[in-house]
């Protein structure tokens, strides 16, 4: 599980996160919601070590992650699928997966086989350059690449961005199933609050870098005030 | 202050300053040094009062620049009458180098393009002067220098046109290839360029009589008087400086800086990218050629080995150390160049190195190269930039 306490992050003069605190539990999906600029991406980047924090702590199963480099945090079992997916377009599908498997233990061919089984589309396109994949396929690739290293924590940054509603629905299913199957700690950052809340167990709402809500997904989804002001939902 | 009052103030002070400058030069050369020195101080005061008034600086920028150039030239010219022959030689060489540095500084600073071939452009100017003088019985000095500028500009155009499409490393490499190829070009036209030994300058170049009367070297020939050569070099540098200062502040200069910083935005505003890049390239080549032409005059000869790739690196080092894109930086670089040989000799003497040994002969390269690396890593804005920083920090207190 991931425990964030009083986390504050600033980019120069801009305060991106102010004393953010919440818990993401093992086996649960914790959605992080909020409008653009709320600090959601910064939060994930701080957890995985790309961005330094000025105050507060991030611990994973009791172990402090502050000050560690991303390369080392990743080796502890944190998988981060960044904003925009980060699929390397010049590599083939298989090369992308091989890259993800670099820190994996066990046989490479077994790991690849497992991902191809879960995502048959990738198996079909394994020798193709990732640039030829559709948006949804790229998202699958990014997830497979993160999963191939058998992480215990999965950080997902706006996976539904740019995807059609049907593909998004499929994607959310996959995330939900993976979480249950592998007993993951999932932190799901989304602007598409509706889809995220459907599969999430808990939800944290950020507004301009501060936590304005931290409750079960059901409670957050039902709260009128939250839905109107922070989630842009108009019913 | 009302505009009419300001204008008359400007007119009066300018005229007074000009008069004082002329008198100071006449008087000193004919050894009436008391009158000369007083006139000189009047000139300094007049020019200085104009320059320091920010209102006038803003309203009449061209006049201000002209006056600054004039005063700087005046000071230096007066100095030449007092300096020894070797000091004047150094001054002349350094002044010519300043012109070259102005050109490259402008290219790199204003338009963000890099050239490793300005040593070769210097060679173009240098050989143009020598070849022309060797084929004509008499030729005026102004003409032959303008010829060098034109030659440099033409070659600059030839290389500048393909350069417009190239980004940093490719452009640098292309200019490097040109610098390396320059020697082969000279060899190919060996009958004209005198092959490995180069050319000597005959007594063909003469200066106008009024100029000689002011500076009084006693003869129209250029070869005898180091002070005379230094004066010419300083005058030409002053003119070059004035033009560069105006170019820098002009619309073209501003367009270039926009292209350097954000070429996409520049294009959207309607600036022609290739045109501004070519103009910058041509200007830097022309300036380099002018400096090279002066060198030929000063040295009375030209040899191809002077204008090799090593010179191009030296020029780049001086621009960086002095301060990219600044006019004071170019002048600082010229001064450094003028006295580098002496400085290195001093170092050799005082550190007990064998002056004929391997280390001593390579000290130039080691020091310049080392300074270049240190400067670009720790003080990329060069000496001029450091001074500016310090000045601004003091102003803030």
């Amino acid at each position: 599980m991931i425990d964030v306490r009083e986390l504050s992050v600033a980019y120069g003069a801009v305060q991106a996160l102010r004393s953010v605190s919440f818990e993401a539990r093992t086996g649960e999906i914790t959605a992080v919601l909020g409008a653009n600029g709320a600090g959601k991406t910064t939060l994930l980047r701080t957890i995985s070590g790309l961005v330094p924090s000025q105050a507060g702590t991030v611990t994973m199963d009791g172990r402090a992650l502050g000050g560690m480099k991303p390369e080392d945090i990743v080796r502890l079992g944190v998988g981060h699928v960044p904003e925009g997916r980060g699929v390397i377009a010049e590599f083939t599908v298989e090369e992308n997966l091989r890259l993800g498997a670099m820190i994996a233990k066990g046989s490479l061919s077994d790991a690849l086989a497992e991902q191809y089984e879960r995502f048959p589309v990738l198996g079909e396109r394994r020798k193709q350059h990732a640039a030829t994949l559709s948006g949804g396929e790229r998202q699958m690739l990014a997830m497979a690449r993160a999963m191939i290293a058998a992480p215990s924590v999965l950080l997902l940054d706006e996976p539904s961005l740019g995807l059609a509603p049907m593909v998004t629905a499929q994607l959310m299913h996959v995330i939900h199933d993976l979480c249950a199957l592998k007993d993951l700690t999932v932190i799901l950052v989304e602007q598409n609050a509706k889809s995220a809340l459907r599969i999430a167990d808990r939800a944290v709402v950020l507004y301009l870098g501060t936590v304005v809500a931290n409750d079960t997904a059901a409670a957050v989804g039902a709260d009128e005030k939250l839905r109107q002001y922070y989630l842009g939902l108009v019913e | 202050m009302g505009p009419r009052l300001m204008r008359s103030r400007v007119v009066w002070t300018t005229s007074l300053t000009l008069l004082a400058v002329l008198v100071s030069m006449f008087a000193t050369s004919s050894a009436r040094s008391g009158l000369g020195l007083s006139a000189f101080f009047v000139a300094l005061l007049g020019g200085g009062s104009l320059i320091s008034s920010t209102a006038i600086r803003g309203a009449h920028p061209v006049v201000t620049r002209a006056l600054i150039s004039l005063v700087v030239v005046d000071v230096t010219l007066l100095a030449t009458f007092r300096l020894s022959a070797t000091a004047n030689d150094n001054l002349a060489i350094g002044a010519a180098m300043s012109i070259v540095l102005l050109g490259l500084s402008f290219l790199t600073g204003s338009s963000g393009q890099i050239s490793l071939g300005n040593g070769a452009f210097m060679g173009v100017g240098a050989f143009t002067v020598a070849i022309w003088a060797n084929h004509h019985a008499t030729t005026p000095i102004a003409f032959v220098l303008v010829l060098a500028v034109i030659a440099g500009a033409l070659v600059g155009l030839l290389l500048g046109l393909p350069a417009t499409r190239l980004r940093g490393p490719y452009l640098a490499g292309m200019t490097l290839a040109f610098a390396v190829a320059f020697g082969a070009i000279l060899n190919l036209f060996g009958t004209w360029t005198g092959g490995d030994s180069g050319l000597q300058l005959p007594e063909a170049i003469y200066a106008p009589r009024w100029l000689i009367r002011i500076f009084g070297p006693g003869t129209s020939s250029l070869t005898y008087n180091s002070a005379w050569l230094a004066d010419i070099a300083v005058l030409v540098t002053g003119v070059a400086l004035f033009f560069m200062a105006n170019l820098f502040a002009s619309r073209t200069g501003r367009a270039m800086r926009l292209v350097r910083d954000n070429d996409v935005a520049a294009e959207l505003v309607g600036i022609s990218l290739p045109r501004t890049r070519v103009i910058a390239f041509v200007v830097s080549a022309a300036y380099a050629a002018l400096g090279g032409g002066l060198w030929t005059l000063i040295n009375n000869s030209v040899t191809p080995s002077t204008y090799g790739f090593a010179l191009s690196i030296t020029i780049l080092s001086l621009v960086v150390i002095g301060g990219i894109g600044t006019i004071p930086g170019a002048i600082i670089g010229g001064i450094i160049y003028a006295y580098s040989a002496d400085a290195i000799a001093w170092i050799t003497a005082h550190t007990g190195l064998n002056s004929q040994g391997n280390v001593a002969s390579q000290l130039n390269g080691i020091i310049f190269g080392g300074l270049l690396i240190l400067t670009i890593l720790f003080a990329p804005m060069g000496l001029a930039g450091i001074v500016r920083h310090w000045w601004a920090a003091r102003a803030r207190k």
Binding site: - | A181, G365, I376
Partner: protein
Amino acid sequence: MMDTFLTSRNVADVLGGLTNGVIYSLVALSLVLVWRSTRILNFAQGAMAMIATYIGFAVLAPTTNYWVSMGIAILAGMVLGGLTERVLVRGLYGKPEINPIVAMVGFLLVLESVAAAIWSTSSRGLPTPFSIVDYQLAHKPVALSPFALYEIVTALVVMVFIALLFQYTKVGLQLRAAALAPEVSRLLGVRVGRMLTLGWILSTAVGSITAVLVASNYFTGLTPTSMDGVFAFGFIAAAIGGLDSPVGALVSGVALGIILQFVGDYLNSNAIILVALGMLVVSLMARPNGVFTRSAQRRV
């Protein structure tokens, strides 16, 4: 019939050009290696290789085994490359484009001056491991000597090794990933900093091999500036082929070598660098990013 053909002037030019060309390809390859991994054009490449060669051969007494000296030169090159990346280049990432160019040019000057200061500018002959006498075919010389063959074979072995390394090994995958997408690679556990250093180390290893080949050619010898000309041609080959393309380096290096051999033979030796410069200009005007690079759109 065949032997008349093989000993003809044109074939001689092709063979001679090939021998030179593979050298240019190697230089181009080392430039491409550094460019792809760190986006820096290493102007000091030739000078670094030259120093490594000096260390390999001058530090050991001249009578020692050529191959041991070659090995030491390669090691020295690798150390120099790694150190340069760590100490000098680290401070240049993310800075304006001209900063690394200026720094590497300065480094070039320092290296050549230091080499001349330590070992003087006079030429040193290196032992030649193979005969430089051309092979004979029916009592007529073919423009290929055992030494030339050694050069060609070495160059090909190096290029194949690098290609295999990049394409099929875990390290190669990481090197490519670190160059293409450094941040994403970090999130996948790639130690990007080490990959950058490795890119430089590989580049200077290739460079050292090249410099040793050039210097052990009987006619050139080793001087502080002996790699300058080779570097210039190698750079031209890399620029024409495209700084991103190892294949481009190979093809344009060989093509350049052969074309220039013909130019030198049928025209003037002074025309060689001019033709090369002309080829560079024409090629860059037609394809500013190289012939073999897939053109990348600049994102706004």
